[in-house]
């Protein structure tokens, strides 16, 4: 799998009132990579994700998956939203099975894969519970399992832990990292949290607002064998602080 975003710009509105929200975005993503886009609100990072998902069309530039231009949403690009994306009338298991049923997979395959992916996210015991009976963290794990079960080439994560409490957010970050290590999934993470991006992604693109653009790319060569250790290690904290300052100055000069 090779995802390529080249020269992508996006404006909303027409004519003189058109507002440029993304200006000349370029980056690539290959199989097995974990890449993050970090920026404050207004940097257009969610719009980048919606363009890749095919939920919006770029005003100019091209987005291709394995050389094929993106023309609309499809199951090769799975997406996890920040919240409220589980179907409230379906149990956890039926939510996980939802995409596979849309795709018309056989009953036995749906059952088998549902069980497998519930186990992958550690929720086999919650299979029959409704979303409202699950905690926020569990709900997001179901959403991730549902996206993975549909067998996407790349997983698009739009602030997946943004609505969770700090404690749960940290354990979900470790969960996602282990999942990536174990399953070899390809992921693009959108977040405003620099720590989250640096912890999880091998490559971090820093975005600036008005108009949204990538101003810096950091290749994180950090030792990820122990995430909770990494969180408080000196090189990590220094890098985090440096990027935080850069983001603050980008916001400050433009407000």
């Amino acid at each position: 799998m090779h995802l390529s975003i080249s020269g992508v710009s996006k404006s909303f509105g027409d004519g003189s009132r058109a507002k440029l929200v993304l200006d000349d975005i370029n980056f690539e993503l290959d199989s097995g990579e974990f890449v993050a886009l970090v920026g404050s609100s207004g940097s257009g990072k969610s719009t980048v994700m919606r363009l890749i998902a095919g939920l919006e069309r770029p005003s100019s530039g091209t987005i291709t998956v394995d050389g094929n231009p993106v023309r609309g949403p499809g199951s090769d690009r799975g997406m996890v939203f920040q919240k409220y994306s589980l179907y409230p009338w379906l149990s956890a298991a039926d939510n996980v099975a939802f995409g596979m049923r849309l795709q018309g997979r056989s009953r036995s395959e749906v059952r088998e894969r549902t069980g497998y992916f519930l186990e992958v996210v550690g929720l086999q015991d919650a299979a029959n519970r409704l979303p409202r009976e699950l905690s926020g963290g569990m709900q997001q794990r179901v959403a991730i399992a549902r996206a993975l079960a549909a067998d996407p080439k790349v997983l698009l994560l739009d602030e997946p832990f943004g609505a969770l409490d700090l404690q749960i957010r940290e354990s979900m970050q470790e969960f996602l990292f282990l999942l990536w290590e174990r399953t070899g999934l390809t992921a693009l993470l959108i977040t405003h949290d620099i720590e989250e991006a640096l912890l999880l992604a091998q490559r971090v693109h820093i975005m600036a607002p008005r108009p949204g653009r990538i101003v810096r790319t950091v290749e994180g060569e950090l030792d990820r064998s122990n995430l909770s250790h990494l969180r408080v290690s000196t090189p990590f904290l220094e890098l985090r602080e440096e990027l935080a300052q850069q983001l603050r100055s980008l916001d400050g000069t433009l407000v």
């Binding site: 499809g74 199951s75 997406m79 939203f81 409220y84 179907y87 995409g99 549909a150």
Partner: protein, 249 residues
């Protein structure tokens, strides 16, 4: 006893019955205008014994059932289409917005001219009086389906019609049931109006006959029976909601 959610409501009803009994029993008001509760119960059991009550009930419930079923069936696809498609919404919303402000009873003369005095005009009156409200309420429900739910389905490989049947329809089910429950009240109003104008039997017809013979006790019977059926239907819809859409409670 007082802890039960219905206990206060039942107390309220009993209080009104008591006041009624006291006023009727005091002789302050002419029996002709205010029959006693016993007289009303007697008039009701007489009607039941003569088979009139059941016949009227079947006639009125049948008309409401037919007219409202038609309205529910027509409004569901149109409401969903208007909620999903901006073009269809822009095409139909002004039209429906206009017709819905025409009072349904004002259609009665036209319906009688077109269809005579049989069942059709009554059923159609109920249809006309409820279909536009049902449609607009369903359209609104569709518009409030969270975009995340639709978009998730799209990114899982769902196609247009699947989104309607697998996402929109289940999500709006509770609001649709609620819209039907609310508009059912208008259906009951309209069937009585239609029967007051022209009918051989029915609860509304019975009331207008009772008026002609100054049988206030029978008018009371009609009113109370209509109220009880309305309440029963309302509770039925609530039960359906609780059973079919447990997730929404």
């Amino acid at each position: 006893m007082l802890g039960h959610p219905w206990s206060l409501g039942i107390f309220g009803i009993l209080a009104v019955l008591l006041v009624w009994q006291l006023i009727a029993g005091s002789g302050l008001v002419d029996k002709l205008f205010l029959p006693s509760p016993e007289a009303v119960v007697k008039a009701g059991s007489d009607q039941y014994a003569r088979g009139i009550l059941i016949k009227d009930l079947v006639a009125s419930v049948g008309r409401v059932g037919a007219g409202f079923a038609l309205s529910a069936l027509v409004s569901l696809p149109i409401g969903i289409a208007m909620g999903c498609s901006r073009v269809i919404c822009q095409l139909l919303e002004p039209l429906i917005g206009l017709i819905r402000y025409m009072p349904a009873p004002a259609f009665i003369p036209l319906l009688i001219i077109y269809f005579g005095l049989g069942e059709e005009p009554k059923v159609l009156l109920i249809f006309i009086g409820t279909v536009f409200f049902n449609t607009l309420m369903i359209m609104d429900a569709v518009k409030f389906v969270p975009s995340e739910l639709r978009e998730t389905a799209l990114t899982l490989g769902g196609k247009g019609f699947q989104i309607v049947t697998q996402v929109v329809a289940p999500y709006i089910a509770p609001q649709v049931i609620d819209a039907y429950r609310i508009n059912m009240a208008s259906a009951w109003n309209l069937v009585i109006v239609a029967e007051l104008v022209a009918a051989n039997e029915g609860l509304g017809k019975r009331i207008s006959l009772a008026q002609r013979f100054l049988r206030t006790d029978e008018i009371f019977v009609g009113l109370i029976v209509i109220g009880l059926i309305g309440l029963a239907i309302d509770l039925g819809f609530r039960l359906l909601m609780r059973r079919a859409c447990a997730w929404a409670n």
